[in-house]
Every structure is written in structure tokens, then in C-alpha cells.
Subunit: 216 residues, 2 copies
Amino acid sequence: MSIVTIQRKVLEKNDEIARRNRERFSQKGTFVINLVSSPGSGKTSVLERTLEYFEGKVRLAVIEGDVQTDLDAQRIARYHVPVVQIVTNGGCHLEAKLVEDALTNVDLRGVRLLVIENVGNLVCPSNYDLGEAMKVVVASTTEGDDKPLKYPGMFLHSSALIINKTDLLPYVSCSLEVLKGNALKINPALKVFEMSCTTKVGVPEWCRWLEEHLSG
Amino acid sequence: MSIVTIQRKVLEKNDEIARRNRERFSQKGTFVINLVSSPGSGKTSVLERTLEYFEGKVRLAVIEGDVQTDLDAQRIARYHVPVVQIVTNGGCHLEAKLVEDALTNVDLRGVRLLVIENVGNLVCPSNYDLGEAMKVVVASTTEGDDKPLKYPGMFLHSSALIINKTDLLPYVSCSLEVLKGNALKINPALKVFEMSCTTKVGVPEWCRWLEEHLSG
């Protein structure tokens, strides 16, 4: 049995569980996003701004994925939403089974939006369906404008791109136009948002777009 | 045969080839560093500043690893050093075999320093020995000061840490002291450098330290 076969079987098994998760989300009327990016792009900050926007309006829940620590879950718990931390213990991405297990600790009744924050990794999580409605990739201006070309898989598998840290544009060597152009070259269907989690510019546009996807 | 066994066999095979690479480097008197970080931390910029420092003093060669594109090799070629690009085609890390294959295109005679720039990924490359003398991890201030705790493997397996983008400290939520403290908590033996590839602050300290490791 070759490694390629093993890998295919792992992905098939993952897809089967992802289908189960997706069915469950659909039954509960929960819209699910899988938030992906490099380490330090600002996934947790985007999530914090999103939680602030929806506070008192929409019921949310969060699943945090990290290689180690529950630092992100601690940050999110301050917003008084249900949050479960998955620690992968060295694992480089979340898998559908980890999410299924985490769901035993989340009451989805009335939850209209579930955000799964993946491990910070611009390569591996792109291959693993968790049962989400869509992947949203965060890329920060400080990472440079060539990342979509160098890590195309993640941009190809995402429905939306949040370009974060636009407040740092004056200080870094990154062209917003080149970054957007490169992302759309990889995936012309990407919905692109420009955002600064520090100044909050762009947060309402992103949240209103997200809101349109939530069911009554 | 379980997946864990497959994974162990992959790593054993990798270690065997890494030993072969290491022997070859030793015979040629070539010191080898494996440069690792998240995407966009500035590995290529650190490499560019390093090439500038050693220009005309020390013979260098470079192996570039990327998921896609030869953009980094193009950047490095401007410095008139031998450079080979490895494209992993979706692979999330370099392996010893890829480096061994790339070496057929590098004449190591007289090369005292070989820099292997790994795929941008703070998780997966930490497990793969390429035959290097040491791993050097780059972490940028824009990624935040909690990264060593959240991605401990890479900091544990590295000999040196370059904290890059210190020029952006006034604009980001990152404490240099906390970042250093977290890194040293994971690996007290880490040699830490503070650097800005934009202002070039810290470049000479890093390069002089590296120079001490090169053989006659």
C-alpha cells in the first residue's frame, strides 16, 4: 500500500465526516465558515471584530484550532460566546473528525453562525473539508503581495479573501492592487474585503456580506 | 499498516538521506542553514541582506523552496550567487530527498555557506531534517508575540531566532520582550537577533555570528 493511497483514504474518510458535519449544520440552520491564514495574519482579530458587530443581533459560536495553547479561546471567551478549543498537538491543520468531536461540546440550537478558526498554516488546511459553507482566507499586507501566487491552493479553495492590516500599508512593501490582482488571478470568483482590525475600517462591509448568508 | 507507521517510515527514510546530505556538506566544508518561518515573515529579505553582507567575502549558494513559482529564486539571482528553485507543487515542507536532487545542480566546491530557504510554514518543516547544520527561524513583529507558544515545535528545533520587522514595532501590538521571553521559554538555548531588513538594523550582528560558524 503506497503513501499516496493512504493519503487518498485519509481524505476520503475526512470528506465522509465533513458531509456528516455539513448535514448537521444544515439541520440546525447554522452557517459555518472555516477561517484560514498564515500564523499571525489576524484571524483571531477578524473574529473579534466580527463578534463585536453581531453582538446582541445574531447568536454565534466559535471553534478554535491551534497547535498548542488555548490562548485564542481565552481571547474569544471575553465576548461571552460559546467557544471550544481544539489543540492539535503538533498537527498542522484541522480535520472533520476533530470538528465533529468538538461539536459534542457546542449546543448549536439557535446558533446562526459558527466560525471555525483553523491552525495558522497557508498550505495544509486547504485540502481538508470540515463541513463548512465556505473557507475565508485572511492575508495581511505585512506578508507581501506575492502570497496568492506562492500559496495558490488556499486562495483557490476560498470563497472570500480578507486583506487585513491595511493600516500598515504606508510602512510596508506591499501593493494592495498587486495583492488583489494576484488573488483574482488564482481565483476570479473570490470576494475581496480590505480591512484593518485596528482602525475597524472595512469591518461593516465584511459583516454585512456575511449577514446576507445567514438564514432567517 | 497504520498511518502512524507510514509516517515513521517516511521520517526514517528522510533522516537517512539527510545524513547523506550532511556528510556531503561536511566533505565540501559547506556550512548549511535551513531558514524557516511563516509565509511573509521575511526569510527572503533576511537572505538578501545576508548575501549583501557576504558579497566578495564568502562564497555562497542558495536553494529556494516554494509551493509554487520561482519568484524567490528570481529575487536571489540578482545577487549573482548560484541558486536552485525547488517547487513542491502543493507540498508543505522540503524533504532531504528534494535537497539531494537539487544538489545535482549546485557545485559546492568553495561554497562555504549554503542557505536553504524552506516553504513558508511554521508547523510542518520542523520535523524534517535536510542535513543542515542548524535551523534558523524568522518571526516578524507583525505576527504578534504569542507565536512561540502556539507553534513551539519550530522554536524548539531551531538554533537561532531572527525577530524581523522591528521597524514596525511602533505600529503593531507586539512586545519584543514578551516575544523573546516566550521563545526562550520554549527553547532557552535559542540565540536571538533583532532585525529590520528595511533599515538594516541588526544585520551585521547576525552575519558576524553566522561568519563564526564558517570553516576556514
